[in-house]
């Protein structure tokens, strides 16, 4: 008898599209919340995005509590403690996160402390160490890539310990994710491209790694189709609201996909060059994706062949011989990388980042082997394998 088994969970309510922000007041009211604290960062506040949210909520009869905008780029335990302190002093009863992955992660950790009444957040670190529901939490992403608005994970930098503190619990999931094209309309082209390629990588790895299942596949396919269709049009016309929304939806769907079918070698390498040399996560994923797919192809040829339908559409899929579809899928991803490079200079190779010295590749390879995402890669990766992929991604 087959021992196949999978789990899938996606309880976040998606509120997506035209004037989506105007639904927040209703979502708060139905959860009995009257005074939500906004968590954001200074860049998002400076761009006027929190003002748009406040206006949309208050015009709908809702109220807004204090704004906490001291979230640093990598988040921090100190930011979590400070935000939780403001929340508890102000008598807030819900959280609204407006920002990228760091803001989302910080808001999730603040929600732990807001619910537990303060103290050291580290005592809830690790896997499934929360035992009950947290305060109502609405996530409004201002980038279209991380998918943090639909993930049950929070990673917070702990400078004192020289490490990152990891929280995982289904209770960390936001109650509502609000996708409104106004939130990503002003994203610079480079960030637009890098985050879209991040979303594509989430989808493709979820589709090709060990925990893939029929439901994560459905989300990965839909996300792949949106990125393939809309990335270049949005780079050509950044004011394209329909395209912006499609990319935000792609990021959320890819987030759901990889929450239920975790990522593999691409992320292991991207995490390592990110930690060692500060290479943008989305850009690193974009650089490594084709080389890793070629390495993994013996174990996921069929899946890669199926992805061609979503990357290139039914005509190309039908016209491509079945035994060439997997290679064509990788070529299509490379073509997307080329287009992104042409439009905004998104690096195609490690050398183009200008951050990673070639002589560092052996250390990157060695460190990548210890990244937890390696477990889910469909092919076992040795040091020599990792180094060979890095060499291919170099230039």
């Amino acid at each position: 008898m087959s021992k196949n088994y999978f789990e899938f969970s996606s309880p976040v309510k998606m509120v997506s599209g035209f004037r989506a922000l105007e639904h927040i007041a209703f979502e708060l009211e139905t959860r009995g919340a009257r005074c939500p604290m906004i968590v954001s960062d200074k860049g998002v506040v400076g761009a006027g995005l929190t003002d748009v949210v406040v206006e949309a909520v208050t015009a709908g009869g809702g109220q807004i509590g204090p704004l906490f905008d001291d979230v640093p780029p990598d988040s921090s335990i100190e930011a979590v403690e400070a935000g939780a302190g403001i929340y508890l002093q102000s008598g807030c009863d819900a959280l609204i996160a407006v920002g990228g992955g760091s803001v989302m992660d910080t808001a999730k950790a603040i929600n732990i402390m807001a619910t537990e009444g303060g103290g050291d957040p580290r005592r809830f670190a690790g896997y499934n160490n929360l035992k009950h529901r947290l305060k109502p939490f609405i996530a409004i992403p201002t980038t279209a890539g991380t998918g943090s608005e639909v993930t049950a994970v929070s990673v917070i930098k702990d400078a004192a310990a020289g490490a990152k503190t990891f929280f995982y619990s289904q209770f960390l999931l936001p109650d509502v994710a609000v996708l409104d094209p106004r939130m990503t309309l002003k994203l610079p082209p480079m960030i637009t491209a890098a985050t879209a390629m991040d979303a594509l990588t989430h989808a493709v790895e979820a589709y090709t790694c060990l925990a893939k299942n029929p439901l994560s596949d459905a989300y990965a396919e839909a996300a792949t189709r949106r990125v393939a269709k809309w990335l270049v049009p949005v780079l050509e016309n950044p004011g394209d609201e329909a395209g912006r929304l499609a990319l935000a939806e792609a990021a959320a769907m890819a987030g759901i996909a990889f929450s239920n079918s975790p990522v593999g070698l691409v992320h292991a390498l991207a995490h390592t060059v990110g930690a060692m040399y500060g290479v943008h996560h989305g850009a690193a994923n974009s650089i490594f994706l084709p080389a890793v797919l070629r390495f993994n192809m013996p174990a996921c040829r069929e899946e890669l062949a199926e992805l061609l339908l979503y990357l290139a559409g039914p005509d190309v899929y039908a016209a491509t011989p079945a035994d060439q579809r997997a290679e064509e899928s990788v070529s299509r991803i490379e073509a997307l990388k080329e287009s992104a490079h042409k439009h905004c200079g998104l690096p195609r190779t490690l050398s183009e980042t200008g951050k990673v010295p070639r002589e560092a590749l052996p250390e990157v390879a060695a460190r990548s082997l210890d990244d937890g995402t390696m477990v889910m890669n469909p092919v076992d990766v040795t040091y020599d394998d990792a180094l060979a992929v890095l060499e291919k991604a170099w230039d």
Partner: protein, 159 residues
């Protein structure tokens, strides 16, 4: 089963240089356990003198790293080499409590031990991929590992 796995790991960590190289990056005193969520059964090991030694799961101290199966049936699948540890993770049967960097090293040690002590057709089922290793090297290492295990067994049986 847990007892056998821990003793095979103990013996392999004393003999195989690949496993010892992995362990060299972990601090002395590092410990890990493999347990079932209900609490028992469990295996616990600690790094001592550059190799792993089996310790009593009931010692009370919290291990540096814990692998936890949701159910004893899930543990049996992995520990009887019917399912690989990556497949157990993928199927949400197994969770990690602790640092992933250490977990990856221990998983590589477990994989190496299985590749050495199991017949190839069994090891292929228990591993994501079977490593490149010559038959003569495998037999030599396996003989030494099983030899140590037998000595352990004699030590355990009271005279």
């Amino acid at each position: 089963m847990m007892w056998l796995i821990s003793r095979l790991m103990q013996a392999a960590s004393a003999i195989d240089r690949n496993i010892r190289r992995e362990l060299s990056a972990l601090p002395e005193g590092f410990s890990f356990s493999m347990r079932v969520r209900s609490g028992t059964p469990a295996l616990s090991m600690r790094k001592d003198g550059g190799r792993l030694v089996a310790v009593s799961p009931a010692s009370g101290s919290r291990p540096t790293l814990a692998f936890e199966f949701k159910h004893v049936a899930h543990a049996f699948l992995v520990l009887s080499f019917q399912e690989s540890t990556p497949r157990a993770f993928a199927n949400d049967r197994l969770a990690i409590d602790g640092e992933f960097t250490s977990a990856m090293k221990i998983l590589r040690c477990l994989n190496r031990m299985q590749a050495l002590v199991l017949p190839e057709f069994v090891a292929r089922r228990a591993l994501k991929s079977y490593p490149t290793i010559s038959l003569s090297e495998k037999l030599a290492l396996a003989a030494r590992i099983y030899g140590r295990l037998v000595i352990e067994l004699f030590k355990r049986v009271p005279s």
